[in-house]
Structure formats: C-alpha cells, structure tokens
C-alpha cells in the first residue's frame, strides 16, 4: 500500500504555540450556531423554576433605583442634573449593569467552563461572545422598562425631553459598553486561569468602579481635579452620554467618546490576543 503525503493539503496543523495574531475568526463564524445556543441556554436556564421568570429583569433595576432615590436623593441630596431621579438612576443602572454583568461573567469564563473546555474543542471566544449577547437581550428588556417609564414622564410633562439626532449614537454607545466589558473580561479571565488572585480583586473592584463612574451622580457635580480623574475613566463618557441621549438631553463632549472608543478597541485587541494565547494551554493550569 502506497502512502501519499501531500504535505500542503492538511486541514489543520496542531502546534505548541500560536502566532500572536493568529485568530481564527472564520472558525468563530462557523460556530455561530453554538454561540446562539449558548445565549439561549443562559437565558432559558436563568429563570427556570421561578414563578416570576423574566419579570425579575425589571424588578432588580427598579428596586435598586428606588433605594438610590431614598439614599442619594432624599438623604444625601445629590444632584441629578435636574432630571427626574427615577429616570436618572434607572438609566445609569441599566447601562452599568450591562457592563458589570459582561465583565464579571466573562472574567470567569475559563474557570466556570473548565469541565466543558477540558473535554471538547470549540473556539473558546464563542463563550464570552454568548455572554455579551445574552446580556444584551437582558439589557434590551431593561431598556424597554426605562422607555416605558420615560414615556410616562413625557406624557405627564415631568421632563424636558427633546428628540435629537444624537439618538443615532445610542447603539454605538451600547456596543462600546459591550466591547469594553468583553475586552476587560477576557483579559481577567486569561489571567485568572493560573493565579486566582485577580478574582478577588475583581469582586469588589467592580463595586468600587461604579462609584468612580457617574452612575449615581452626574459628571457635572464634580469639579476641578476630581472631574479630570473621573474623565479618565473610559466608562464615564459612555454612561454619561447614554443617560443624556436617552433622556433627551443635549450631548456634551465628543472628544471623550473618541477617547473611550480608542481605549475600548485597544483593550479588546489586547484581550483577544491574550485570550487566544491562553486558550491553548489553560487546561493544564486552570
């Protein structure tokens, strides 16, 4: 029996190390069904065996907003930029939650899925992608709640709302938020496979980060050095612009959005490169 070794026709060559930029996006596309099934799994399994089901999506931001109103508006008397406190907090919490969920879930992706990753190969990035998408759906539902309440306020003329062309920026801001969460999340997930120390940092880090981001206060209430520091936080322009656009206020500062975009894409790029390097050997160290 003759053996033909047509060297160039290999479908695949498995080697110890991957090139830094050798990212197989085509493969991820081939596995798009899997991504969508992961999304479905996350979504369906979250509220199985609950009576209220997806209503929990509404309850959580609503109650958080109410608590915030009591503490930060009634007791601490923080400014809400002249906006109705409920809308102000709800908008902030909705976009913030999206970020923090994306970050905390993707940062755990290797550890949480070690049993699957250890048994079968599929592009590992499909998992963080699924997390981003399933949280986007959740975010969409919460956004709906926000819009309903907004309509109520507009109808009762309790808010000075003008529909502006900037509204077209909204999807881009949401995308930025998703990508920033993804980028930071996969960096953390890659680093935590071997050393778990960062998980502890992340746990309270996200909480602290919220206070460093204008979620419960407007950027305008900060002045001087504090304002500069807050502006360095790449989340600041997203949260701030998102809230202002959706509540029909004028937008402010485009340079900060550009700064945030650059920051996001750099983070995402680094994240994908690191993730790509780690995914090959993480099973041995996780």
């Amino acid at each position: 029996m003759e053996i033909t070794d047509t060297d160039k026709n290999w479908t695949e060559v498995i080697t110890p190390k991957k090139g830094v930029f050798e990212i197989n996006f085509k493969e991820i596309w081939q596995y798009r069904d899997l991504v969508m099934l992961f999304v479905r799994r996350d979504f369906v399994s979250t509220y199985k065996q609950t009576i209220l089901g997806p209503i929990w999506f509404f309850i959580q931001p609503l109650f958080t907003s109410l608590i915030f109103i009591i503490i930060f508006t009634r007791i601490a008397r923080l400014s809400t930029d002249g906006l109705p406190p409920l809308l102000f907090y709800l908008a902030g919490i909705t976009i913030w939650n999206y970020f923090s969920e994306c970050l905390s879930k993707t940062s755990n992706v290797f550890v949480a899925n070690a049993n699957i990753f250890g048994k079968v190969y599929f592009p590992r990035l499909s998992n963080p992608l699924a997390i981003i998408i399933s949280n986007l759906i959740k975010f969409g539902i919460q956004l709906l709640l926000l819009l309903v309440i907004l309509c109520y306020y507009i109808y009762n003329q309790q808010i000075n709302f003008t529909l502006r062309p900037e509204i077209a920026l909204l999807p881009y801001l949401i995308l930025l938020m998703a990508l920033l969460g993804l980028g930071m999340g996969i960096i953390f997930s890659s680093l935590t496979t071997k050393y778990r120390d960062l998980t502890f940092l992340l746990q309270f880090g996200i909480q602290l980060l919220m206070y460093a981001t204008p979620v419960i206060y407007p950027l305008s209430s900060a002045t001087g050095k504090l304002k500069t520091i807050l502006s360095l936080n790449p989340l600041t322009p997203i949260v701030e612009s998102f809230r202002r656009i959706i509540l029909g206020q004028e937008i402010l500062d485009y340079t900060s959005i550009i700064y945030c975009s650059i920051f996001t894409f750099l983070t995402l790029f680094v994240g994908i490169v690191v993730f790509n390097q780690v995914e090959k050997s993480f099973m041995d160290t996780v």
Binding site: D5, T15, L37, R41, S45, Q49, I116, V120, Y121, K194
Partner: protein, 426 residues
C-alpha cells in the same frame, strides 16, 4: 493508496506535578528570563519517563514523550495502555483541548472528539434543547442537528422524556441521550475515549454496533478503551503506550499482547524467572520459576496441537502453607480465559501442608489450536486466602499439526480449540 489522515510528529506533553502556588510564579519568571536571553526553557530539559508508581524526583513530568505515528484514512486505531500511560493526554492533544509542549500534529479532515458523553449538557434544559446544545458543542450546525433530530431521539430511546429537563433523567437515560447525539456526528475523524463503559448491556451493544457502522463507512476512528474485547472487535490497528512512550504501533492482534505483558511476548525454550514479576494478588512472592515440559519431562520451547504437555512451576515459601490449591489457567493473547485447572477440580485433593516444591499441571490430550497462549499461575490456601497469583506469567506456543491426518495443517480461522470429529453428507 491510502491517504494519511493524521500525522503525529515527535509529540511531547509536559505537566507540572503538585500544586500551582507561589513557587509557580518564580518558575514562570525564570522561564521568561531564559526566553528573554534566547535560551531553552529550563524546565523542559530533563526527559524523565513517566512512571506513575515511582515517586517523582522532578517537579515536571512528560505525559507524552516523543510520540510519532501516522493514521491512514479509514483506519480504526485502538489506543491501549495502563492507567497513566498517556492515552487520554494523547486524545486531548489530538482533539485540541490542550496544546502540545513540543512537536506537532497534522490533520486532514474535520475532527470530532468524544472524550466524555454529554459534554455541556445543562441540567435545567430539556432533552431536546440539550440535543441541540450538545450537538453544537461537538461541532454540528443547527440545521444538521434538526435534520437528524428524530433519528437521534429514537436512537436514544428516551422519546417519552424528551421535553423534560435532563436533571430529572436517570443516569442511564442521560448517557443514552448523550451518546445518541455523538453517534450522529459525521466528521471525517472521530476520537472516542472510554464511552462504552456506561449504559446497560443492550445499549452498549447498540453503541458498539453504531461504532462499527462508523468504521465501515470509511471514517477514521481513534478509540481508547480498557474494554479489550471492544477494541479487538472494532480496531484494525493498535497503538500501545507505556509511561508516556510509544511502545508498539501495528496491527491490533500484535498490539494486544503488549497490553497484557510487557516482556514475554514470544515463547522461548526457557525457564522463566518469576520471582520478581508483578503479582496480581497474594501475600508473598512464593512462585519462583515456571517452564513447559513434554510428557517425557523434557524442557520444550513449544508444543504442537494435540500433543500432551506439562506446565510446571517451582515454589518456595518461608512459612508452612496449609490446605493448598495450585491453579493453572490458559488464556489467549487477548486475555480471554480458555480453561483452568487446579488440584481440587482435577482430583478433589488439597495439599495439607507444604513449604516448597514443584507444582505440575499435566494435559495429556489438549485441544488447543495453533497459536500463542498466556499461562496464569495461582496458589490459594483454602478456603480463600491468596498466597500468590501471577496473571499472564509466561506464554506457550502451540504449533500447527495435521490433526485430522488429511495433509492439511490447521491454520487461521479455526478458533481457540479444535475438536476431533468429521464432516460428511448423509
């Protein structure tokens, strides 16, 4: 002409022993420092063989040590070896779950691996939802799964529960469903690890049948199992791993003997020293030597079909053994017991008291077909105290012979035993 489907070239895989802790970061830094200066990784230098039973002298271990082999398209390759030989590591590297440390693998065709049944099953989802999820994890598209859904459900035999969350399933049902999904994969190369160890007998048979179908469709299959009968039935080629090294690669029939015995594969005209051989049971290494004799008490290398022979072993203990049984077993090279005899069965006797001597098992007219056979030796103190027990202690060879006086020497395909008889038309 057969094309090569998988080409493994000088594959190494290193693992670190012990725990990841603060010591690890110093290794990482040292490794990075060496890399920076263009030197070789200081922890990849020593090639220590991976013997599970030896206490490690080194913190790093080679789970795969210089493995090279080719698999041709359409071949069914059985990978065998003891626990810790590196079988699963090899499959993991092949299925891209983890990367190799050195060397590479070239693959032609889509690989699907089945290192576990039901990977990614979510307990809260229904059987149907899990079919889709699991299928997608294994690399199928939604459309492929949808087109095979009915087939998968009926193969699994859990139709009734298909819309119930799988957390309510019995473990058997769970596995049935999982295997059903896997069985309907259609990759060019399929990698399977020990999945037959589950399910009831009927389902195991079904699985084996399905895997045979897969093999017959000309797909390449790599199969790891300790179920030697299954390996033998399914595989055409075999790969034997020992302590991370490739010991043998060839036809399955020639590979299996390696699994049972590392050293004695071909019969020699010799007295076998068994005093240090690995025991499978017992309290002391009492059996010292063993050999084969003809009926005239002469040492022989091999016997022939129908010729009487004696299996003898010498034993010596430093204590009085009481109520002794001396057992002799004959197995084929796949480990299947053909017959066994002891003094209780043969002559309804036990040896009341003995310290040393030579035990003889005499077969005056054996019916063994030509081939090689393992001999298992055992000493038991009645009622059930194992004194010594060596499985596959040595091999004997039975030469073909013209039993039926027709000039035709018995060859292959005659099974393990021959029976005197005749065939005629009435």
């Amino acid at each position: 002409m057969a094309e090569i489907a998988i080409k493994v070239e000088e594959l190494y895989k290193q693992y670190k022993l012990g725990m990841v802790n603060t010591g690890t970061i110093s290794h990482d830094l040292n490794r990075w420092w060496h890399k920076l200066r263009g030197k070789e990784d200081p922890y990849q230098l020593v090639t220590v063989t991976n013997d599970r039973t030896q206490k490690a002298s080194n913190e790093y271990v080679w789970a795969l040590n210089n493995i090279s082999f080719d698999v041709k398209a359409g071949e069914v390759l059985g990978i065998i070896g003891k626990n810790g030989a590196g079988k699963s590591t090899l499959l993991k590297v092949l299925s891209k779950v983890t990367g190799p440390t050195k060397g590479n693998i070239k693959v032609k065709g889509r690989i699907a691996s089945l290192l576990e049944v039901g990977t990614g099953f979510h307990p809260e989802l229904s059987g149907r939802e899990n079919i889709f999820l699991n299928g997608a994890i294994l690399g199928m598209t939604k459309r492929e799964i949808a087109s095979k859904l009915d087939e998968i459900i009926s193969f699994s035999g859990v139709d009734k529960y298909i819309d119930t969350p799988v957390k309510r399933y019995s473990s058997g049902m769970y596995v049935r469903l999982a295997f059903a999904v896997a069985a309907h994969l259609e990759p060019e190369i399929l990698i399977i690890d020990e999945v037959l160890a589950v399910g009831d007998a009927e389902f195991q048979k079904k699985c084996l049948g399905k895997m045979k179908d897969v093999a017959q469709q000309g797909r390449t299959v790599l199969f790891v199992s300790h179920n030697i009968v299954a390996v033998q039935q399914l595989c055409t080629k075999g790969l034997f791993l020992k302590n991370g090294c490739l010991e043998y690669h060839g036809d399955i029939e020639k590979t299996l003997p390696h699994y049972f015995d590392f050293e004695n594969v071909s019969a020699k005209k010799d007295v076998y020293d068994l005093s240090e051989k690995v025991r499978s049971n017992g309290v002391a290494k009492v059996i010292k030597k063993a050999w084969l004799e003809n009926l005239d008490n002469e040492l022989i290398a091999s016997t022939a079909m129908g010729d009487g022979f004696k299996i003898c072993f010498e034993f010596a203990a430093d204590f009085e053994m009481e109520n002794m049984l001396f057992g002799f077993g004959i197995e084929n090279l796949q480990g299947m017991r053909i017959t066994a005899l002891n003094n209780s069965i043969a002559s309804n006797t036990v040896v009341k008291q003995i310290k040393s001597g030579i035990a003889v098992c005499e077969f005056t007219s054996p019916n063994l077909s030509a081939g090689e056979y393992f001999i298992t030796l055992a000493m038991v103190s009645e009622p059930n105290q194992w004194i010594d027990h060596i499985e596959h202690a040595f091999t004997i060879k039975v030469e073909p012979k013209d039993i039926y006086k027709t000039g035709k020497v018995g060859g292959n395909g005659q099974g393990l035993v021959f029976l005197k008889g005749d065939v005629y038309i009435r």
